[in-house]
Each structure stands twice: as C-alpha cells, then as structure tokens.
C-alpha cells in the first residue's frame, strides 16, 4: 500500500455558467520519500486538485466523489476540525503559486513562520522561535534576518521563506504548486536545489505541480500528465520522457526546447485547452489530436497499463509505442 493514494477524485465548481469539471476522476499513488510531478497547462485542473487535497476549496467548490488515503486513513470524510488539527499543515502542507505574495508585508518574516508553527502546535514562543530560525537556516537564509520585513528580501529569498513556512510543522508530504514560475532562471535553480536538498535531508514526499516539464524532469521520480481535469498518462519520469504514449504528452515534451541539443524547430500543439464546463465528448484531447478518429470522439479512453510503471489513457497508444513522431506533420505553426 502506497503512502499516499488518490482514487477517482472528482471535484466540480458550481458557477453561473454551469458546473466546471475541474478534477474529473483523478487517481495516482505516491510512495514515501518519493516525488511525483503533475504536469499540465493552464486550465487542466492541477491547482484545483492541490487545493482539494488540502481541503481548502472555495465556497463554490464541491467534492463529488473519490477517496484520498494517507497511510490507509481516509482524509476526505474526516471531520473538518480533525483535519485541521491533525492533517493540514502537520502532515500535508503546501507551497502556493505566487508564494511571495503570501507573505504579509507588514509583519516580519520570521514572525510569520513562527505564527505558522504556533497555530498548529502547542509549543512555547521560545521554542517556536527557535524552530523558525532553524527552518530559515535550512532553506539557506541567514537566521539573523529573522526580523526583516518581506520587502527587504529578494524574490528568491521570499520564496524560500515561504518554503520554510510550509515545513514549519514537519509535514510528511509537501505539495508545491508552481513554486518557481515567477522566478528568474538562476534563482529558480537556487530554489529548486534548496527544495531538493531538503527533500533528501528530511525524507519528504513531494507532489510538484507545474507546467514546466524541465523542472519535473529534474526533481521528480514519477510523472502524471494532466489534461482537462483528467490524468492522461502516468509513469516514471524516464519512461514518460523517452517513450511518451499519449499524443498530448508527446507534443508537450517536444514543446520544450532542449538547449543541450542542436538547433531544431520548436514544436507546438494547435488549438487550446477545452472549456471545463462543457468538455468534448469522448477523449477530451480529440479536437487537437492528429490521430483522433470516430472512436476517440465517442468513447472516453480508460487508463491502461503499458509496460512497467507506465499507464496511459488513449485509444491510439500503440501508434506512439511504435515510435512514430506524430507531431512532425504540422507545418511551422
């Protein structure tokens, strides 16, 4: 039994336009100490899934079904109070997107970390302060900057401070939602390295949510590719990047220009992600897929295992398994 399991998680938003099917039957599993990357572009529902796992949904969000298990214990049907006291931030914590803005500009940074500790644990102020200073050091910030205000920190430092806050209560699992998107590339490298070091030192399990396949390639053991609220391909990083079986994955991987390789055309996928209120019938990727046929438009493919540690939801997976480069036909557009 895996350490953290999600089964058929479904979450919809109620809006004036109808139900937005943000997370539609998502399943994955994570072993202790490993990192899973969830890759997807805007509108695929990955951020929604992150907030669902922490049960931090907005008022119009509704969990429609599914199970989330941590060490065998079901998290979704736990009473809110119990979840808040025992799980949220103590066993699972989150690094939010745009985390630099999560720091209150009028409070000192160190105090904000202390606050995170004091809210969730029953410890004295001195001890909380001590732990906060330790955390700062752990993320590579000089503890003497405990009393600084956020504006005195640079962007990368703010991000690392937020990471420290996420680690305040020694969680077992950290969900990172686009942790480095707003950062410059050199700073991104610094922050990612800090996260990597922490993972190794503390034995953290991690779910990294991002659109940047390069980041996932560097940081994660397993990858789940999300599209329009569902997971379309799932497997180990090496498998997915070298042998993508889903047309979307293939397109996405080729869309990241590899600076180490020679000059080549940057690939792209025509069209845009679907409306989650009224997703396409059948396979949700079919409007953009060069391989789509009648069956794809009518029947939603189920997740099928294909090889060791590799599962894909596509009727045409065999074509890609044969090594065909299906995106080559497109002209330079």
């Amino acid at each position: 039994m895996a350490f953290f399991e999600v089964k058929d998680l479904t979450m919809y938003y109620r809006t004036l336009r109808g139900q937005v099917r943000a997370v539609d039957g998502v399943s994955f599993a994570l072993d202790k100490g490993k990192a899973l990357g969830i890759a997807g572009e805007s509108g695929c529902g990955k951020s929604s899934m992150a907030t669902t796992l922490l049960r931090l949904l907005p008022t119009n969000g509704q969990i429609m079904g599914g199970r989330v298990l941590m060490d065998g214990q079901s998290l979704l049907d736990m009473p809110e109070e119990q979840f808040r006291r025992r799980v949220r931030w103590k066993r699972i914590s989150m690094i939010f997107q745009g985390a630099m803005n999560a720091l209150n500009p009028v409070h000192r940074v160190g105090h904000q970390i202390m606050e995170a500790i004091l809210t969730h644990e029953d410890v004295s102020h001195t001890e909380a302060r001590h732990r906060a200073e330790e955390l700062l050091a752990m993320v590579g910030i000089n503890p003497r900057r405990f009393d600084d205000f956020p504006h005195e920190f640079s962007g990368g430092m703010k991000q690392r401070a937020v990471i420290a806050m996420a680690l305040a209560c020694n969680p077992d699992l950290v969900i990172a939602d686009e942790p480095t998107t707003a950062l410059d590339v050199i700073v991104q490298a610094q922050v990612l390295k800090a996260i990597e070091d922490l993972r190794n030192r503390l034995g953290l399990s991690m779910i990294m949510i991002t659109h940047d396949l390069s980041v996932i390639a560097q940081m994660c053991d397993d990858v789940a590719i999300m599209y329009a609220g569902r997971i379309v391909e799932y497997g180990s990083a090496v498998e997915i990047y070298s042998r993508p079986l889903h047309p979307y994955t293939a397109g996405l991987v080729r869309a990241f220009p590899n600076i180490a390789a020679g000059r080549s055309t940057i690939r792209s996928i025509p069209g845009s992600p679907p409306n989650l209120v009224d997703p396409p019938a059948g396979c949700r990727f079919n409007p953009r897929c060069p391989l789509a046929d009648g069956r794809c438009r009518a029947e939603e493919p189920a997740m099928k295992v294909s090889g060791e540690r590799h599962a894909v939801a596509c009727h045409k997976a065999d074509i890609l398994a044969g090594g065909a480069d299906i995106w080559q036909q497109q002209h330079l557009a």
Binding site: H211, A217, P257, R263
Partner: protein
C-alpha cells in the same frame, strides 16, 4: 536573372545594419527628498539601460536575453521611442530617431513596430479584432478606402494564420485564447508592413505548448517577408532556437554578444555560462541542479562598481572591482565584456 554586380549590391544592402544603437542610456529618476534636492547634483535613479551599443542586420533575428531587472524591456521600448532615453543614438536606416520631431517621427513609426508581452493587456478590451488591427492603418492614413482597409486587415490575419479571417474579425479579445490574442497582436504589428519588429517576451505568458506556434510564426515571417526582429526574452532555450544572434544583458549592459550557436556552445562570460547551466533540460537522465551563481541580481539604483557581476562572480579579482570591462570582439562577431574571457 541577377547579374553578379546586382547580387553584390543586394548582398551589400543586406549586410548594412538596419538598426544601430550607440551608447543608449535610460535612467528613471527616483523621487528626491528635500535635502537631497537642495544639495543639488544628480539624484538617485534606477539605471535601467546604462550604456548599450549593438547592431541589427536587415532580416536577422537578434535575441536579447537577460533576467528580470536587466533593462531589456526598457531598451525594447526605447528602440521605438516609447520612452525617451537620456543619452545615445538609435540609427534606424541611417536616421537617428532620437533627434526627430514628433511630426517626423510619426511616418517612421510605420516601419518600426512592437509586440508586447501580455496578450491580455496589450489590446483595448472594448475594441473588436477588426478595429484593433485597423487602428494603425487609420492612424497612419495608409488605407485610401474602406475596401482597401478591409483587405489589408484580412491579409494581416491570414499572415498570422488566423483563417478564415472573417471568423475572427468581429470577436473581442476576451473571447479569444492567449495564443490567438498574441497572433492578433502580431497581425496588428504586421498590418503596416514594417521593416522591424521588437517582440518583448511575446510568449512568456502563454502556455508552453502554444509558444512554439508563435515563435515559428515569427521565424516564418522573418524568412518570407524579410522582417527584422529583436526578440527580448529571459528564456535562453527559445532564443537559441530562433535567433541568429544573441546579446546577453546584465544590469543595464551587454556582457556578451554573438552568433546564437557560438553563445550556447562556447560562452565566454561567467554570467552567460551561469545562465546556460541554470537552464533546465527536459531530460530526466541528465540531472544538473547546482547553485550556479550565488546571490541575486543587485539593485539597479546602486550597481556594483567596476564589473557589475563582481560580487557574485567566481572569477572576481581586484581589477574586476575597480575597472569596468569593455565589450571586446573575440572573433566572428563574438564580443564579450570580461577581464578574463
């Protein structure tokens, strides 16, 4: 059939720089306190562009790469005189556009255009696609009749692959996706048939799978119409794939400049090397996380003395603190500003 002489002439024409920037300086003055103003002298300023010189040849794509705060966006805007530089020359086809009066400048704007970073912001949300694209035509009085205007708008839409044009003409920006909006922005820039387009981070706000489409479009426009591009970005990987030449900026100055392949294959400046190694590769078998350069980009109000990288540079020596290195050509148009390159 072209004779040898005319071919030489054509080659020569194509090898003259279309744009030549000399010593461009743009500061943004900060508000001064009363005492500071009384004391006189120059107040504090954000030194966004602090002495930049380069050339862009006709028909080529020059990439300007740098992290946030290096001044690349300011420079892009300065090239179109959307912001007034304090010093320097911008010679477009031989004419210094900084010395022109507003009346003289206006017709020149036909030949210089810009595509902005934010596809959501760069268009007036209350205008439909037709009006957005037709606006430059109207401002420049280029279309003699309504029919001609419609023709040109449609052609612009076709050029950016938004076909059939009629399907998009009456839509509003909020009805289109990010990628589509950016194509409209490019169409708007193209409708005047400019010689030169500054593209300021045109794809950084788009989804990854769409970026290729836009960048390849730019490439194609460059090849087919001979449009010269300046592609401003922080993403060295994409710059490498579509640019002929790349200039690397740090804190308002060029630190290295040269052919794209040379920059990526054999970088000479420590900063360029750091940038390259920081760029992540989407290949799980090649793990390369390392701290490439400590610290962060310093404040542009008080740049470090001498070489601006010296507080962070692993090669820094005393001379780096004291003397600012000049851009020196190391052969084949590959220039670098470092004492130890």
């Amino acid at each position: 059939m072209a004779t040898a002489a005319s071919r030489v002439k054509v080659d020569a024409a194509f090898s003259e720089p279309l744009l030549k920037v000399v010593g461009l300086v743009k500061h943004f003055p900060l508000r001064r306190g009363v005492l500071s103003a009384l004391r006189g002298g120059q107040g504090l300023a954000v030194r966004a562009v602090d002495g930049v010189s380069f050339e862009v040849k006709r028909g080529e794509i020059l990439g300007i790469v740098g992290e946030s705060g290096c001044g690349k966006t300011t420079m892009g805007r300065a090239l179109l005189r959307l912001t007034e530089p304090q010093e320097g020359q911008i010679l477009f086809d031989g004419t210094d556009i900084l010395r022109l009066s507003p009346q003289e400048l206006k017709p020149l704007r036909r030949r210089l255009q810009i595509v902005f970073q934010d596809p959501y912001e760069s268009m007036n949300p209350r205008l439909n696609v037709y009006r957005i694209i037709a606006e430059p035509l109207r401002l420049q009085n280029l279309a003699t009749s309504r029919d001609e205007e419609v023709e040109r708008v449609r052609k612009a839409l076709a050029d950016v692959e938004m076909t059939p044009p009629d399907e998009y003409i009456y839509r509003y920006p909020h009805e289109l996706s990010g990628g589509q909006r950016q194509r409209i922005a490019i169409a708007r820039a193209l409708v005047l048939e400019p010689d030169f387009i500054v593209a300021d981070e045109p794809v950084s706000m788009l989804d990854v799978s769409i970026r290729g489409g836009i960048l390849n479009l730019m490439l194609r426009l460059s090849k087919e119409k001979g449009v010269t591009f300046v592609y401003i970005t922080h993403d060295l990987a994409t710059a490498r794939h579509i640019c002929d030449r790349i200039g690397v900026m740090y804190l308002g100055k060029f630190v290295e400049e040269g052919p794209a392949d040379a920059i990526v294959a054999s970088p000479l400046h420590p900063y360029t090397k750091a940038l390259l190694s920081a760029v992540l590769v989407p290949d799980p078998t090649r793990k390369g996380l390392q701290t490439v350069l400590p610290g962060e980009v310093p404040n542009a109000v008080h740049p470090p003395s001498g070489c601006r990288l010296h507080p962070r540079c692993p090669l820094a020596q005393a001379i780096c603190r004291e003397q600012e290195p000049e851009l020196v050509d190391k052969g084949d148009g590959h220039r670098v500003a470092c004492h130890f390159a």
